[in-house]
């Protein structure tokens, strides 16, 4: 079943064309990676799906619907930067998510935070970057959503934290849904991908099954990425 569909999607910022005719179908029960260099349009595409931006032209449908109030509830979105009020305490964040989202599993989130030794009375702004990233991820993955949109969940964190983040995604995502991860840290993420999409200068360069791509190119996806996007 198609969860996300983009038809001739175009996004311009003033005279600059960021996405230049995207045609993409993403099915559920998949973990799909979105890879591309900085500035290729990954975050723009994700924000369009999350309806934080509107298309210049073209169409997006989520679960058959236009992005809007109904679809926001279906999507668990993790932005690429800190998005929660930094004065909030971990315990308050649990209340916050529970209030906003019917599909939030508070017990799961609490357990995950306990495993991380998170102080529930500690404020976000007093946590290290790595810890903040993990907290944000825990909140995102504790929702039983149709679609998980993760924008660069691994950026700027140490290898052990990256392992934890990947493990948490695998352990907690809704298997009936879709996980769409944008990243340029491909080595860490590629073993968990079903499919991968390469985005180059606002257009889809390829969309393949991950193992098939490895078999066809005889390389890891990371190696192939370096070849395709060599400067």
């Amino acid at each position: 079943m198609i969860e996300i569909e983009c038809k001739d999607l175009v996004k311009k910022y003033g005279r600059k064309t960021c996405l230049n005719g995207i045609n993409l179908s993403l099915e559920n029960q998949r973990i799909i990676g979105l890879a591309g260099p900085n500035g290729s349009g990954k975050t723009t595409l994700i924000k369009l799906i999350e309806r934080l931006l509107t298309p210049t032209s073209g169409e997006i449908t989520i679960h058959g619907k236009r992005p809007g109030k109904e679809t926001k509830g279906l999507i668990s979105y993790l932005p690429d930067r800190d998005f929660l009020p930094d004065w909030m305490r971990a315990g308050e964040l649990l209340d916050f998510y529970q209030t906003f989202y019917d599909d939030f599993d508070r017990t799961k989130a609490e357990n995950l935070m306990r495993q991380l030794n998170i102080d529930f009375s500690g404020k976000l702004k007093h946590m290290s970057k790595g810890t903040r990233e993990k907290v944000q991820l825990v909140l995102c993955m504790s929702r039983k959503a149709e679609v998980y949109l993760l924008d660069e969940p691994l950026a700027g964190v140490d290898p052990a934290a990256r392992d934890y983040i990947i493990h948490t995604i695998l352990e907690n995502y809704n298997e009936d849904g879709l996980v769409f991860i944008s990243t340029h840290l491909i080595t860490d993420i590629e073993p968990i991908l079903d499919e991968v999409v390469f985005l180059k200068e606002g257009k889809i360069l390829l969309h393949r099954n991950a193992d098939d791509l490895r078999a066809e190119t005889g390389r890891s996806i990371d190696d192939y990425f370096r070849e395709v996007f060599a400067c």
Binding site: Q29, R30, I31, Q115, N117, A160, D163, Y164, I166, H167, L170, E171, E175, P191, I192, L193, D194, A210, D211, D212, R214, A215, T217, G218, R219, S220, D223
Partner: protein
């Protein structure tokens, strides 16, 4: 391929996903690793293997990829499924014998390829193999520890 999956203790969780070599489809690498574990008895005959999702999380791979590998193992008769209770390692002695034979041939083949590339003849290779002794630990090694 190295593989470690350990839940060290409740407070510090250490995940080390399996390491995967470039280029070869991951499900094939999983398949090879599982065959070695079955042949060596690390996964004993008749034992139950963990559910797909758990295996996948421990190996750090997508459950669909793990499923693909497990299905292939079922097709080769190395695993069998009991409808409600999960997957088990085969107890069929013939199949195990055949598996060990295939893995042996593979490793011997690799040995021959490598030594031939160093210029050894077949006879020289056989002589090397016959004369092989497992290195003993010397007292020097003990001192290093």
């Amino acid at each position: 391929m190295r593989s470690d999956a350990c839940l060290a203790d409740q407070r510090r969780i250490h995940f080390m996903a399996w390491e995967f070599r470039n280029g070869i489809p991951i499900y094939l690498q999983i398949l090879d690793e599982m065959k070695v574990r079955i042949a060596s008895g690390a996964l004993p005959p008749g034992s139950k293997i963990p559910p797909v999702r758990e295996l996948a999380a421990n190996a750090g791979v997508n459950p669909n990829t793990m499923q693909r590998a497990l299905t292939a193992l079922e097709q080769e008769g190395l695993l069998y499924a009991r409808r409600t209770s999960g997957r088990y390692v085969t107890e069929d002695a013939e199949i195990m014998k055949e598996l060990r034979k295939k893995l042996s041939e593979k490793y011997v083949g690799e040995l021959f390829t490598q030594l031939t590339s160093l210029g050894l003849t077949r006879d020289e290779i056989i002589a090397e193999v016959s004369g092989w002794k497992t290195p003993e630990k010397t007292s020097q090694d003990d001192q290093k520890l």
